[in-house]
Amino acid sequence: MTWLLKLYPPQWRRRYGEELLALIAQQRFSFATMFDIIGGAIDAWTQPQSHLAARAASQPEGDTIMLAKVMRLRSAGYGAKATAVDGLKGAGVILGGTVLSVLVATWMRQQSVDPVYPQALMANGASNRVTVSRSGVPPETLTSRRHLTESLEGSWDSDDFCADGVTR
C-alpha cells in the first residue's frame, strides 16, 4: 500500500510521509485502509492549510512563523501560494478519485462484495463534498451544536462525567 503515499501532495509527504509509511507497514492490507488513505490524500489536496501551517510552525523563525499564525486564523487571502498547476492537480485528484470511487463501488455491488465496502466508498465521497464546501461541517450542524452547548452551559458538574459520552 506504500504506493498510495504518492497520492499525497509533496509538502504533506515531506512532513508526514515517513510516519505514515511506518504506520502502514504495521497494518495488514485491507480495502478499508486503502480507501481511508485515498480519502486522506484527497483531504490533503483540498485542505492544504491543515498540513502547511504545521510545516511552517516547525521552522525556527522568520516569515514562516507569521504564515503559520495567519493560517491558523485562516484569514481570507493568506492561504498557501498555490499555482494554477497545483489547482489543476487538486481538481484532477478530486474528480478522478470520485469517479474511481463510484466505479469501484458499482463493480463491488455487481460482484456481491460485502456491502460494507461500497457503502464506505460512497460515504467517503459524500464526506469529500462537504470538506470541499469549507471546514467539513455543514453550517446548520455547527449552529445547532453551538446553540446546544450554549443552552446547556453551567448545568454540569465535574463529578458527573460519563465516559460513555466520549465514545460511541
Binding site: L21, G40, A57, F161
Partner: protein, 110 residues
C-alpha cells in the same frame, strides 16, 4: 480563550472532530507516536482509525497548536499535548459532559 471558544475550535475539525478528540484523549497521559495512538484509541474507545484519517486529524491538531511533534524516534514522531491542547480537551469534555447529563436526566424522568 474561554471554554466555549475552545469547544468551537474542535467543531471546526468537521468530520475529523471525533478522531481529533480521541487523539487528544490518547495523548493526555503522555506522548505517543501514530501507531501507539491508534492502538490506544482502539483499546479505550473501540474505534480503529485508518492511517489517512489519523494523520489528517494529527495535521489539523498540529496546525492549530493543540499537539506538538517531539524528536523523531526511528521513522516515527511522537506527539505530545500542548497546554492549548489540554485546554481544548477539557473544554470539549465539559461540553460532552453537559449533554450527557441532560440525556441521563431525561432518560431517568421518562
Amino acid at each position: 480563550m474561554n471554554r466555549r471558544d475552545q469547544a468551537i475550535d474542535l467543531d471546526e475539525f468537521g468530520r475529523f472532530g471525533e478522531p481529533a478528540l480521541l487523539i487528544l484523549i490518547s495523548l493526555a497521559d503522555g506522548p505517543k507516536h501514530g501507531y501507539a495512538v491508534t492502538e490506544d484509541i482502539a483499546a479505550f474507545a473501540d474505534v480503529r482509525f485508518g492511517p489517512g484519517t489519523l494523520y489528517a486529524a494529527i495535521a489539523r491538531l498540529e496546525a492549530r497548536g493543540l499537539i506538538n511533534a517531539l524528536d523523531a524516534d526511528a521513522r516515527r514522531n511522537p506527539y505530545e499535548l500542548t497546554p492549548l491542547g489540554e485546554k481544548a480537551l477539557r473544554a470539549r469534555l465539559a461540553s460532552i459532559q453537559a449533554v450527557t447529563r441532560v440525556g441521563q436526566k431525561r432518560l431517568a424522568s421518562a
